[in-house]
């Protein structure tokens, strides 16, 4: 408490001092969270008044909320006052100057993942001026996008350049008080991505955070907003297969998707944050709120995720099927090895008429990990002719891990057709013997069978991503067998 008071005093005294913002910009905020921290973040980003008010409302609501405990995960209490809510971007001189200075273990993993040489430097955080390729590539892409009228920028830029769009859609899918972590994010979010696809436009390329060089350090409270206007189409890729290290343990991102009439959003994620070591020490807490609103008639939102990283994953990319004939899809591979804990799944809320949803979830548990699928399919009384098919399979590798399935079905319309299937088993001994009899090693056989198990989900990923995801799966399960 005393630390907080001290910070408060400092901030109150210095709030309007000119030098303050630049100090923080180069040094970061001291640990602690209060209204003045929220004001400081907003001021640093030179945000309009409405956004500051919005952040403050979120903060006040967050104060009244309690951290959720229902998930099948365990972790020590988080001290929210020990976290710094704004850290300064690393200057180039603090970064490795070349690949020779990068941890060889990291480079070895890049090698296993088959990451092209020219990308490794950027991924390893080598100083920007050393990374020529991605800069030039990004410039070319930017040009192409602006020709199509697509807005793709950092969230901060969007607030400055398109405040009306931000004001209209921000929080319209995930309200500030939606849940504890979303409220926290709403109060202190650092940066993120903003995408707007105009009416009738088919985005000319896959959008990826990869090309967004300005937002290299979006930090632990990322905010993404994607709006697909009528008849538009976009495919967005988040994350990458390369292992992501970060000194911040808590990550609480919010992603909001809005699809208007006849629009389609495909959102693919590969999450490979640091999972902690083989004894469960360290690792990221990944508490994410992702939700898509199929607001328009005939709209479609498809979530595909490959989750292999993080010590704890708590995430339920969801679809609100509000528009008539709207479609929601969720394809997920979640791998938990060593002491990782994952509680992930989706919610499909059927509101409009003739809506349909598909859920395919593949969970793999190994080591001492706990892996839970948690999903909700809700059909509202007015949602006539709703359809859902859920397939939810778990694979167990080893005797000390856990695989859990918690599906909720709340059906209130008699024309709904809902089918849910789930299986849990270990890798079949017959399959293993068959592969080994063909001369394939035990480890390769496991990789092959596990990849086959996930095939349906990988098929939904963009081609290159799918190939990397397979390699990632193998790396993630290293040491799980034998």
């Amino acid at each position: 408490m005393s630390v907080e008071t001290e910070n408060l005093e400092q901030l109150v005294n210095r709030r309007y001092a000119h030098g303050f913002v630049t100090d923080i910009a180069s040094e970061g905020l001291p640990p602690g969270l209060n209204e003045d921290v929220v004001r400081a973040i907003s001021a640093l980003k030179q945000e309009p008044e409405f956004l500051l008010e919005w952040r403050l409302r979120a903060y006040r609501q967050w104060l009244e909320m309690t951290e959720p405990e229902w998930a099948h995960v365990h972790y020590p209490r988080i001290d929210y006052n020990s976290i710094s809510y704004y850290s300064a971007p690393k200057s180039d001189k603090d970064r490795p100057q070349s690949l020779e200075e990068v941890d060889p273990k990291l480079l070895e993993t890049y090698d296993k993942l088959g990451i092209p040489l020219h990308e490794r430097a950027r991924l390893a955080g080598v100083a920007v001026d050393a990374v020529f390729d991605s800069v030039s590539v990004a410039t070319t892409f930017k040009k192409k996008l602006s020709e199509a009228g697509v807005i793709f920028s950092s969230f901060s830029d969007a607030v400055r350049e398109h405040p009306a769009l931000v004001k209209k859609y921000l929080g319209s899918v995930v309200p500030q008080r939606d849940n504890y972590f979303a409220a926290l994010n709403s109060a202190v979010f650092s940066d993120g991505s903003f995408v707007y696809i105009p009416k009738g436009v088919r985005c000319p390329m896959e959008l990826s955070t990869y090309f967004r060089i300005n937002a290299a350090n979006t930090g632990q409270f990322e905010r993404t907003l994607i709006i697909a206007d009528e008849g538009s189409h976009v495919s967005y890729l988040e994350g990458c297969t390369a292992p992501m290290r970060d000194e911040n343990q808590l990550h609480a991102a919010v992603v909001e998707l809005v699809a208007l009439d006849d629009a389609e959003i495909k959102y693919s994620t590969v999450q490979n944050w640091y999972p902690g070591d083989e004894n469960g020490v360290g690792g990221i807490y990944n508490f994410v709120t992702k939700r898509g609103d199929c607001r328009g008639t005939n709209s479609k939102i498809c979530w595909t995720q490959v989750e292999t990283g993080s010590a704890i994953t708590w995430k339920y990319p969801s679809c609100i099927l509000r528009g008539d004939n709207s479609v929601g899809e969720f394809y997920s591979v979640a791998v938990a090895n060593n002491y990782q804990q994952a509680d992930t799944g989706t919610k499909m809320i059927h509101i409009g008429r003739n809506t349909s949803s598909t859920i395919v979830s593949k969970g793999i548990s190994a080591g001492h990990a706990q892996n839970a699928y948690r999903g909700l399919v809700r059909v509202m009384p007015q949602a006539s002719s709703a359809r859902n098919h859920t397939q939810c399979d778990s694979l167990l590798i080893g005797k000390d891990c856990g695989a859990h399935t918690f599906p909720y079905m709340e059906i209130r319309n008699p024309s709904a057709r809902i089918e849910h299937e789930a299986t849990t088993s270990k890798i079949s001994a017959d399959q293993m013997f068959y592969c080994r009899q063909r001369g394939i090693s035990e480890e390769d056989a496991v990789n092959m069978i596990v990849n086959g198990f996930c095939k349906e989900v990988f098929n939904e990923l963009p081609m290159e991503f799918a190939v990397e995801a397979q390699a990632l799966l193998n790396v993630s399960l290293e040491g799980a067998v034998g």
Binding site: T405, E410, A416
Partner: protein, 428 residues
């Protein structure tokens, strides 16, 4: 509405029990219930079932001074005649020894209930409704089964509750122990009568010792303004087998908790159920199977037919504990929603901490197959009859698996009667 009942109210009720000593055990249970109250919807297991109406009824009967209604002998005799069983009769929670030939059936020895150690997972006794039952049950019964009675007529447990003159409640408790290698069959029938509201809270504990087997059918046909919470705890030892089928064909609010602990290798259970939702009914089945060791097997298969403003809840869970390798657990739950305002909340859960397991569940919510209806109509059957036939076929899958084949006739009769009732509602 507050679901807490004060210790004073409860203690008064305890004092009014005829001839019951205020034992320490009862007082402890009373306190436990007073501390917790009726479970609330914030508790995950009670998310979809609101007991506040039962809490309200309970306040009324707890403060009533009147003695409960006397037994409705005509109904009792009619019920006993409907099924060929060695009956044991409870009326408003009191054991009617004179009407209970089942107490002296060969192979059965009966005594006052001493709660069996059915609890594999600690603290399960602390369930507040079990505590309420332990505190306020008038007569507990303990049955010990010896020898192979698989071919004998089933033992019948009839509970008939009456609320003709006032709101009433009953707490029935039966403990059953199957000796090693023994076999027995049970049919449990729950009926009720009376204009006033009634709340029944029933607990049955059954321990199947090694190599014993048990076939068990429970039929609940309470009046539409009567509610119940019922718990069956099964503990299965090595190579014991239990087949249980539950038919919920009546009642206003019904909540059944079926807890199975598979604690011996080679133990297996088959748990079937059929429930009908009609306007004004709330029917909640919670099943949890704990595979504590392996190999062990459990199969759950429940079906629901819902029509009118009603709600069905199905929560089936299999927990496979660490080391319970060789577990095979399946769950299946199928629901027909036949009209607007009917609601189903289904939650098939798996919690697995062992490796060598085979677990699967399948759940569906849907309607009758329009193709099949069309097919029947081309054969000259009118549409409503076609719908009734197909709904009947959906239900028959459970009826026909009845662990006690002699009951097929009466189960069919009862199911058909329910189908007739919902037939007017069977329009798309």
């Amino acid at each position: 509405m507050n679901s807490q009942i004060s210790i004073q109210e409860l203690t008064r009720a305890l004092h009014r029990l005829p001839g019951t000593e205020q034992t320490t055990e009862r007082r402890r249970a009373l306190q436990l219930f007073a501390d917790h109250g009726f479970p609330g919807q914030r508790e995950e297991d009670w998310k979809y079932t609101d007991l506040s109406s039962i809490a309200k009824i309970s306040r009324t009967w707890l403060s009533a001074d009147a003695e409960p209604d006397g037994p409705d002998l005509a109904r009792i005799h009619a019920a006993m005649a409907s099924i060929d069983a060695a009956w044991i009769v409870f009326a408003n929670g009191s054991l009617l020894r004179d009407l209970s030939p089942g107490l002296s059936e060969p192979g059965v020895s009966a005594s006052d209930a001493v709660e069996l150690d059915v609890v594999a997972v600690p603290n399960r006794r602390d369930d507040p409704l079990s505590a309420l039952n332990r505190a306020l049950s008038r007569d507990g019964l303990r049955l010990q089964i010896k020898g192979d009675n698989a071919a004998a007529r089933p033992i019948g447990i009839l509970t008939l509750d009456a609320a003709q003159t006032a709101v009433s409640s009953s707490q029935v408790r039966v403990d059953i122990e199957l000796a090693p290698g023994s076999a027995a069959r049970f049919v449990e029938l729950h009926l009720s009568t009376g204009e006033h509201e009634h709340y029944s809270n029933c607990v049955v504990n059954l321990v199947a010792n090694p190599a014993s087997s048990c076939d068990y059918v429970r039929i609940q046909q309470r009046d539409i303004n009567h509610s119940q919470t019922a718990r069956l705890n099964l503990r299965l030892q090595q190579d014991s087998h239990v087949r249980h089928a539950a038919f919920d064909l009546g009642g206003k609010l019904t909540r059944n908790d079926l807890q199975v602990d598979l604690v011996g290798q080679g133990a297996s259970c088959v748990l079937d159920g059929l429930y009908f939702g009609v306007p004004g009914r709330h029917i909640d089945n919670h099943i949890r199977v704990d595979h504590c060791v392996g190999p062990s097997t459990s199969m759950q298969d429940y079906r629901g037919i819902l029509t009118g403003k009603c709600r069905g809840v199905w929560n089936g869970k299999a927990v496979v504990h660490k080391g319970a390798d060789g577990t095979d657990a399946t769950q299946s739950n199928h629901n027909l929603l036949l009209s607007e305002h009917a609601e189903i909340n289904a939650k098939p859960e798996l919690e697995i901490y062992a490796e060598d397991v085979k677990c699967a569940h399948g759940t569906t919510v849907g309607q009758l197959d329009e193709q099949a209806i069309y097919y029947l109509r081309t054969r000259g059957i009118d549409e409503s009859a076609a719908r009734r036939i197909l709904t009947g076929a959906f239900a028959a899958i459970i009826v026909e698996k009845s662990p006690i084949p002699e009951l097929l006739g009466i189960l069919n009769e009862k199911v058909v009667a329910e189908l007739q009732k919902i037939a007017p509602g069977v329009v798309s």
